[in-house]
């Protein structure tokens, strides 16, 4: 039994091919139906994210399973076999495990550390279980994947550092205000980047949105789009009193706000913090404003610097994440090794032996002095009871499962039944929260 992963991603395949393969996903029902008919494939899951389509399966004969999958993928007449051959990557065994962990933890993404991928894989797993395509190995692997991805996210902070200017504005705002719910955002002027930042802020459930524009008509249009209010540019100073976050991006040649104006506003605001984002060139806001207490002014260069630092930090964090992934891959491989007949029989016997010895010790403590023969008789009794109890499960395990499509179901069942994987329960509860 072996794990086999094949797929295409943004590095290996042009978008055209990715699109056609991703076309399988809306029609999962049919895809899983035909994939499950292949006798070589015991368990399978297919998932797609923005930049990849991958198939992960458990197969007795990986080479044959690979041929099957290739044939399956080139059924689409628009997929050129040569192109597919060139773009397809194949990972087996531990490499496949590592690859899945890296994808889920977003170490293999175009934007390192982006948060959407884990959700997409979770959804794909839900679909796969719905179609009953997965089995004990993939179930365990996917649960493990979710916990690895979660650990990477919380322990390395790979996703904490903003890597786009508009998101940098949001992450800074969160470090100033904490939760952004109910905050008032004032958009001065308009422009692609400013509106993108506004979109991100809306994603954080900000409260009120106010749009100030030189031409009221355009302001009204923007306000309508973002369900906000429109005000004229002359009201800017008055609006400062109720604003928390200001995004400025006008074509003005002079500063719209001077240090003294903001200083006066701060006094009237009772020093409630103010976050000013100036993405206009030339600048809209007097740079000296940043000297004021409780006012944080960032211009476009500052934000770009934040993004630059964010990239560097993500790279550093990625190195730590890779170590975590490597360690977890080894652990998973270890478990996979035990999911064979003989290790399971040994584990069963060891468990039975340990229980008998412990109980014997307890009983001897209560019996008081016993003769040598009596002790021997007790041991023989215990031995034959455990042997006879284990006899049938062991026969069941030793029956030739290799003819079956999924021998691991039985093995997994026995291991669960006798609780042979002690770390398992904690893992699964950990994953759930």
């Amino acid at each position: 039994m072996n794990l086999l992963l094949v797929g295409v991603n943004h590095k290996t395949a042009a978008v055209g091919l990715r699109e056609r393969l991703a076309g399988l996903i809306p029609n999962l029902e049919a895809a899983y139906r035909s994939l499950k008919t292949f006798p070589e494939i015991a368990e399978i899951i297919l998932y797609g994210t923005c930049n990849r389509v991958e198939f992960l399966c458990v197969a007795a004969e990986p080479a044959e399973a690979l041929d099957r999958l290739r044939a399956f993928l080139s059924r689409d007449p628009e997929v050129a076999p040569a192109e597919l051959e060139e773009s397809l990557y194949v990972h087996q065994g531990p490499e496949a495990v590592r690859h899945l962990f890296r994808v889920a933890a977003s170490l293999d993404s175009m934007v390192l550390g982006e948060p959407q991928i884990l959700g997409q894989i979770k959804e794909a797993y839900r679909q796969a279980t719905e179609h009953q395509a997965t089995g004990p190995i993939l179930n365990r692997l996917l649960h493990k994947t979710f916990s690895v991805a979660k650990r990477v996210r919380t322990e390395t902070g790979i996703g904490d550092h903003a890597v786009s200017v508009s998101y940098a504005a949001v992450s800074l705002a969160r470090k100033i205000f904490g939760e952004l719910t109910g905050m008032t955002v004032l958009l001065v002027g308009a422009g692609e980047m400013a509106e993108l930042a506004l979109e991100h802020l809306r994603g954080q459930k900000v409260g009120r949105i106010v749009v100030a524009n030189r031409t009221l008509e355009r302001g009204l249009r923007l306000a309508e789009r973002y369900r906000g209010e429109a005000v004229s540019l002359e009201e800017l100073e008055a609006q400062l009193l109720s604003t928390d976050i200001l995004i400025s991006s006008t074509g003005s040649e002079t500063y719209l706000l001077q240090r003294d104006q903001v200083k006066a506003a701060m006094r009237r605001r009772k020093q409630r913090p103010l976050f000013l984002i100036d993405i206009a060139v030339p600048r809209d806001l007097d740079p000296a404003i940043n000297d004021l207490d409780n006012v944080y002014l960032y211009n476009i260069d500052d934000l770009q610097e934040v993004v630059e630092q964010g990239w560097q930090r993500r790279q550093q964090e990625a190195a730590r994440a890779e170590r975590l992934v490597a360690a977890e891959t080894v652990k998973f491989e270890d478990w996979l090794q035990t999911l064979e007949v003989y290790p399971t029989i040994i584990a069963l016997r060891e468990k039975a032996g340990a229980i008998s010895q412990a109980e014997l010790k307890k009983t001897l403590g209560q019996l008081g002095p016993v003769s040598e023969e009596q002790l021997l008789a007790l041991e023989v009794l215990l031995n034959s009871v455990t042997q006879k109890l284990l006899h049938d499960p062991i026969i069941f395990l030793k029956r030739d499962h290799s003819m079956k499509k999924s021998p691991h179901r039985e093995l997994d069942l026995v291991r669960r039944l006798f609780n042979l994987d002690l770390d398992r329960e904690t893992e699964e509860t950990e994953e759930e929260d």
Binding site: G178, R269, Q271, D293, V306
Partner: protein, 277 residues
């Protein structure tokens, strides 16, 4: 027997320190959960130690500086655990746990005054109220001080636009400022109550409300600093950097009051006067 408990408390607080620092470094949630439990276990043992000492001597154990330190430490850890439960700013533990451990350690290495009769002045309800309120106030204002340090670090990074080691690990400015505000609004009334009960007690026992003893003078200065801070916060909305600096100043004066005035300056409030040979 009970002395071993003190070592258990010490070990628990150092253990919590290790857990909390590890949490600060690698940001694994479970670490600070364990940290809180270990700290709570230490606090339980700490409680037993204090009960035993009160029982044995018949007084709240505050006659010797080391004892007072131990009592203050208990209030601090209890206050932190309540805070951590109601308004979790987890990173704060990375400062509170080591401080708690060092205070226990300090109480162990300072001279333990056993000989002598404890001054009869250390009896009575008003005095217990005076000590309880004052130490409660100290604890809240200490947390305010620690929060102020975090605030200044985080604010510095946001203003200078350079984001280092602390940026990701510290909470947002508004959370830190809220913490500082809470601690001040709880700590200041307690502290004030401590001063009032103390002067009532002084009137009762010594015949005067106020003696211009060094400890009293320093306390007055600290009280004025905190009064200004609270007033400015409420009226003109002082917050953030200035509020943090003032909280730090106030705390330093308090620390001198509590530690310095007892070790170097002599007055009737000094611990050396509580035990009569």
């Amino acid at each position: 027997m009970i002395d071993y408990f003190v070592y258990f408390v010490l070990a628990a607080y150092f253990g919590a320190t290790a857990l909390w620092l590890a949490f600060f470094l690698i940001q694994r949630e479970s670490l600070c959960r364990y940290g809180a439990w270990v700290l709570a276990a230490g606090l339980a043992a700490h409680t037993l130690v204090l009960i035993q000492r009160t029982w044995a001597s018949g007084y709240l154990p505050v006659a010797v500086f080391g004892e007072a330190l131990l009592l203050f430490d208990w209030v601090l850890v209890a206050a932190f655990l309540i805070l951590n439960w109601r308004y979790p700013i987890r990173v704060l533990g990375a400062l509170v746990a080591p401080l708690a451990a060092l205070l226990v350690y300090g109480s162990l290495i300072l001279p333990q005054g056993q000989a002598g009769v404890i001054s009869p002045l250390l009896r009575g309800f008003w005095l217990t109220a005076h000590i309880g309120l004052t130490l409660g106030g100290y604890a809240a204002l200490t947390l305010n001080f620690l929060g102020g340090i975090f605030y200044l670090i985080q604010e510095r990074q946001l203003k200078a636009k350079k984001f280092g080691f602390f940026y990701r690990r510290l909470p947002s400015l508004s959370q830190l400022d809220t913490l500082n505000y809470w601690c001040l609004t709880i700590g200041f009334p307690l502290f004030t109550g401590g001063i009032i009960t103390g002067s009532l007690y002084a009137q009762h026992t010594l015949g005067r409300f106020w003696s211009w003893d060094p400890k009293e003078v320093l306390t007055l200065i600290a009280w004025l600093i905190y009064a200004v801070l609270l007033h400015e916060r409420l009226t003109v909305g002082w917050r953030g950097r200035r509020a943090s600096w003032l909280a730090i100043m106030g705390f330093l004066v308090l620390a001198v009051t509590f530690v310095g005035a007892n070790l170097w300056i002599s007055g009737y409030h000094s611990f050396s006067k509580f035990v009569q040979p």
